[in-house]
Symmetry: C2
Subunit: 444 residues, 2 copies
């Protein structure tokens, strides 16, 4: 299955086009390098998980203004015919170095660098920031849940509350990269092959004369895929109804997969419901829980003794509610053969094309990262950015999504648990190489 | 220009399809009514602004499973051939009553009601919640900025930080409905005809040998559309460079529109920059400000005496940072000819098909809303929900976007300023009609 259609070059802030027009008029076609990094961390995010590269590379590989786009730009009477003719034939011809998706990284580290004629590098800025910023934010939030759930499967339930259609699809993708097991989002299942999962809503239970009838009807349709929602009227009564139907299912050679709790005190409810099923000889019936879960609530209910087998995680993760944006920026660091940086108050940028080198201890546990110049050799560190596009062409096919999840799991396992606290800030050591430090003194 | 492509029926949670399959298997084809409303308000949102209806109606009018959709559903081996054949021919045949976009409304009021065979009403749930929830959330946040700016134009600058591609487009649309003047988002300009606006980035200034050269080059390309960004090196120095270039532009018969401040103390900076331009005889040059603005920062800088003519509003509004989701729900209120409601703890729903009646005082100022039954007549109140779709067909063409902005402005002007506080909670009076109250006692 394929990704949904491209955004196209008009997915941009107008100033990218006005700057391009001015560069064109003054024949500024020199090559520039822009560096993408997360600048500030305004809530506890001790680490990030890279995501969104595939969508960026697809957009760059297919970058082209349509006739309709050009007609629209003509209609606003701001651009010369010469410039519009230039846009009409424009493609992305640059180079991209990037951390593969699923890589764990830290604030101030370049997650991607783009080297291209300045007009091309500039026109893609808005899309790059939007795409990698959003997916990385969600993958990072999801990784915190993955840690909190301590091995229990997580299912993305956020589609109804994500910020728009594209967000819904990309949340399913990003949470899967960061270790989620499945999504309720059918379209994401179709596009990305992510396992899909679903139960029933309260309206289903209400649509039958009583709860038992509803459960029987559902079990009849899905004898081997049933999860009953038991809190439409009363969760204990619901559990007893579910147990009775499960016994009937057993007689017919089928198994109730589980029940879902969606309201109330998850700790006491889950324990009592577990007892009801165990007493009925139904210890295989799993308890799924949904209702405002995020890393904080997952941690809380587990620590208080909830007996929950899997979590449906929705809104708060799908919009990254405690941190609904990341301060990700795309800054020019090299132009016309010289290293450049920006000095606006509070917004200093490191000059130069870069590489991030990660060092590990003898157990394979990460010890520190060194940001160096791209052409440096730092023998003890593993370089994290890879050249993925050259002359506007993809150098490799995109990895499968489950490979990205594998990379995340490997990276995450090598990160010391101290950095995985959901409450406490602990800065992972990221330093600059001597060469990069010296370069900052020389650059303007 | 046209709206981007439809999401399609797979933009749904899996349980909508499993419930549909079970309804189909048990021949439950009865008509149901679902009511869409915002349940809880977890931060100060004294009012909401309805948005997103056009996208919902377009989706319903074109609701159809593609062959590819059906093949995907087949591939997950959960659904019968009969059910898939049924889906293949399914269209939306229902009725929709809704508040027009731009209407100011309040928590617990139905903003839309859908009446359709239960399978159809259920399958569209996820899309309806996502679309109206998100656009309404953003329009409501934008209205708070519109109030705070007290007549100064607002420009949407959020595209790079919105949660995905669709969010970027819909933020431009929703903020425009709620009174914004323009957007930096070129694609939204193309799709919706929203005025687009743009200046330059720091990288543009850095790309020239010095700031004056950069300003001259830009003015040369856009002699009548230039806004200079003056904080790349030093805002005062930048203002003096901009003033010098503006004087040169004057000699050639052109006018500098303005300058943009993007960092630092907006109050003192704007005052000093204003003085620099006034002293140079350039009192027409406007001061634009961007940098983390939302309703709170706009209110603060204005109250502290900033001299700012227009605000570029970005991230915090584009993701509704203080309230990045709304607790919007879609609940069955009528089925098989009877009124129904849900009784889960903390999640009670009002039974019955409804109408919202708005009463005003003699000055046209809103006094209170009465939620009644849909067929009630409450002479003193204006009914807010209109029938917009019948038998799956649109009853009217969609209104132009500027008409929606007009409706918002009219509605907003009739709302007492007390409810417009950005800090203090003040509940607008919303009561239930006697008939609706009695109905709650009778319904299960």
């Amino acid at each position: 299955m394929t990704e949904s259609h491209r955004a196209g070059p008009l997915f941009t802030d107008l100033y990218e086009l006005t700057m391009a027009a001015s560069y064109f008029a003054h024949e500024v076609f020199d090559t520039a390098t822009f560096s993408l990094f997360i600048r500030d961390v305004y809530v506890t995010r001790n680490y990030f998980v890279a995501a969104g590269l595939e969508q960026v590379l697809n957009e760059l590989a297919g970058f082209q203004f349509s006739d309709q786009d050009i007609r629209y730009l003509q209609s606003i009477s701001r651009f010369s015919k010469h410039f519009l003719d230039y846009l009409r034939q424009l493609h992305f011809t640059g180079e991209v170095n990037a951390m593969p998706e699923g890589t764990v990284f830290f604030a101030n580290e370049p997650v991607m660098e783009v080297t291209a004629p300045i007009v091309e590098a500039q026109l893609i800025e808005t899309f790059v920031l939007n795409t990698i910023g959003f997916q990385t934010m969600i993958a990072s939030k999801a990784a915190r849940c993955f840690h909190a759930a301590a091995g229990r499967p997580l299912i993305d339930f956020s589609l109804r509350r994500t910020q728009g259609k594209d967000a819904g699809i990309k949340v399913a993708r990003s949470t899967f990269i960061a270790g989620f097991a499945a999504t309720s989002n059918v379209l994401a299942g179709k596009i990305y092959g992510i396992p899909i999962s679903g139960t029933m809503a309260h309206s289903y239970v209400s649509a039958f004369d009583n709860e038992r009838d509803a459960f029987f009807a559902y079990a009849d349709t899905f004898p081997d895929h049933s999860i009953f929602l038991i809190d439409t009227y009363d969760s204990f009564e619901g559990a007893r109804h579910a147990a009775a139907v499960a016994k009937e299912m057993q007689k017919r050679g089928h198994t109730l997969i589980g029940v879902r709790l969606d309201s109330g005190d998850m700790v006491s409810l889950s324990r009592k419901v577990r007892k009801i099923f165990d007493a009925a000889g139904l210890s295989d019936v799993k308890i799924f829980a949904s209702s405002g879960f995020d890393e904080f609530k997952i941690t809380k209910v587990i620590s208080e003794g909830a007996v929950i087998d899997a979590f449906g995680v929705g809104t708060k993760v799908g919009v990254s509610a405690d941190a609904p944006f990341v301060d990700i920026v795309y800054k020019m660091v090299w132009f016309k053969g010289r290293d450049v940086r920006k000095l606006s108050p509070g917004k200093v940028t490191l000059a130069g094309e870069k590489q991030v080198f990660r060092t590990s201890d003898r157990n394979g546990c990460y010890s520190e990262d060194i940001i160096g110049q791209r052409d440096e050799i730092i023998a003890e560190g593993q370089p994290l950015l890879e050249k993925v596009m050259e002359n506007g062409r993809l150098l490799y096919p995109h990895p499968q999504l489950n490979m990205l999840q594998e990379r995340f799991k490997e990276n995450f396992a090598a990160l010391d648990d101290g950095y995985k606290s959901i409450q406490d800030h602990k800065a992972y050591p990221v330093k600059l190489s001597t060469r990069l430090q010296n370069l900052q003194k020389e650059s303007k």
